[in-house]
């Protein structure tokens, strides 16, 4: 495992929200081929950490290195290697699944419609490609978002609660997808309140880095 290249490296990462330190002194490395579940109770900063790593939020102290370089210096390279799925699915309800995916395809470069249709078939949405998304159920909406994984060329997947609203078969399928991505040399960072367990899954417990105190006048600058 240690011989695998380091994709992401966190140095003394800390984040504070409303005078409360969510986590601090967070030092860790994520290697290619890893699948990591970020653990912690509600409000412990799981989503915040993933948003920081994805570049959505920039309110943090410390350093994030991508392949050994600070992420703000290699923004373009990092962003092209990244797939982020927040707990908002990022699906336009008045568009059809296929139209939604076409936009995502443009985000990352040439993907043919045939590939997009195959991706929809992979998430069991074949036959729904021309149905407006507002007619789909919550689980199906989630699947539209998850179809992005099928044609993604990104190596780092950051998924916030991807299992929400999925049925049992969908959860199993997604687990297999994550395993396949990790064993193909990708990195998966995931949060979930569901019990997901597969042998390769590693965990990062945010409670290990939590501060129980509030921010003092001069503590932790």
């Amino acid at each position: 495992m240690t011989s695998a290249p380091v994709l992401l490296e966190l140095h003394n990462l800390a984040c504070e929200r409303d005078e409360r330190i969510l986590f601090s002194q967070l030092n860790t490395r994520f290697y290619a081929g890893q699948a990591v579940q970020v653990l912690g109770p509600n409000g412990s900063g799981k989503t915040t950490l993933l948003r920081i790593l994805a570049g959505v939020s920039r309110e943090y102290q410390g350093e994030i290195l991508f392949k050994g370089e600070l992420i703000n210096k290699v923004n373009w390279e990092f962003a092209s290697e990244l797939l982020y799925l927040g707990h908002l699915p990022g699906v336009k309800k008045s568009l059809t699944p296929l139209e939604n995916l076409r936009w995502y395809a443009a985000l990352q470069g040439a993907v043919s419609d045939a590939q997009l249709l195959a991706a929809l078939e992979q998430v069991n949405l074949a036959g729904y490609e021309d149905t407006p998304c507002f007619q789909l159920s919550a689980g199906q909406l989630r699947r539209v978002a998850l179809a992005r994984l099928e044609f993604s060329k990104a190596s780092i997947w950051i998924l916030d609660e991807p299992f929400t609203a999925l049925d049992k078969a969908g959860i199993a399928k997604l687990e297999n997808r994550l395993i396949a991505h990790a064993s193909a040399g990708g990195l998966v960072l995931v949060t979930s309140h569901q019990d997901i367990r597969f042998p390769q899954l590693q965990t990062l417990d945010l409670q290990d880095f939590a501060e129980n105190s509030t921010v003092g006048e001069n503590a932790h600058g």
Binding site: V56, S57, S80, Y84, K92, G109
Partner: protein, 226 residues
């Protein structure tokens, strides 16, 4: 990269498609423009000379208000469904994506407003010699107003009730556009040249084109961060 379809084109096409799926939102400002202008002669009487004198100002003020009416929707739905954060973290320059969104927005609101304006000008007995001035000033002016309005919309998208705040932020910046736009139409109605006013409007549009998407991009990052 060379072969990939650009995000600019994809975003532009998607937003136009969305505009046509939500025809109600698109027609709203137009209906407001139509109703407000057609009520004016009813309110102040059909006296031709008076209507002719106030027509340029009324047309421009109503066009401005109609633009303000629809601004709030520019980034709202993207923010609510999470596509805005996807846009922010994409490797593509946010400047271009913002420009694509504003262009689609302008085509769906500013352009129809401009096309409708000569009809309403006729209703206010604006001399037909001023129609070209009216259309060209509104064409340039509404584009500039869309670009500037995008900054306000981006700043307030994170707030639940941003509608009023947008007006407060954006209105002072609209004042020069209103003054020069209405003045172009007034001069044209008197039979005078109006190219100076159009040149100033063009300059405002050029500056807005350069700076407003940058400010919008920055404001979007702040709004999504919070």
């Amino acid at each position: 990269m060379a072969k990939s379809p650009s995000l600019f084109g994809a975003t532009f096409r998607r937003d136009l498609l969305l505009a046509f799926r939500h025809k109600g939102e698109m027609i709203n400002p137009l209906v407001f423009f139509l109703i407000a202008i057609s009520l004016i002669p009813l309110g102040i009487g059909p006296e031709k000379a008076l209507l002719m004198r106030i027509a340029p100002g009324i047309l421009w003020v109503m066009a401005l208000l109609a633009t303000l009416l629809s601004l709030d929707n520019l980034f709202r739905s993207d923010f609510d469904d999470g596509t805005l954060e996807q846009l922010l973290i994409s490797p593509h320059p946010l400047y271009l994506s913002v420009l694509a969104k504003v262009l689609a927005y302008w085509l769906a609101t500013g352009l129809p407003l401009t096309l409708l304006s000569p009809v309403l000008g006729g209703m206010l007995s604006l001399p037909s010699g001023a129609f070209i001035a009216l259309c060209s000033s509104l064409l340039i002016g509404s584009a500039a107003m869309s670009l500037i309005g995008a900054v306000g919309a981006a700043l307030t998208v994170g707030l639940r009730k941003g509608g009023l705040l947008i007006s407060l932020i954006v209105m002072p910046l609209y004042v020069p556009i209103l003054i020069f736009g209405a003045s172009a139409v007034t001069e044209a109605a008197r039979g005078n040249p109006f190219d100076v006013q159009l040149a100033v409007l063009g300059a405002i549009l050029a500056i807005a084109l350069l700076l407003a998407p940058l400010a919008t991009a920055g404001a979007l990052r702040v709004s999504v961060n919070g």
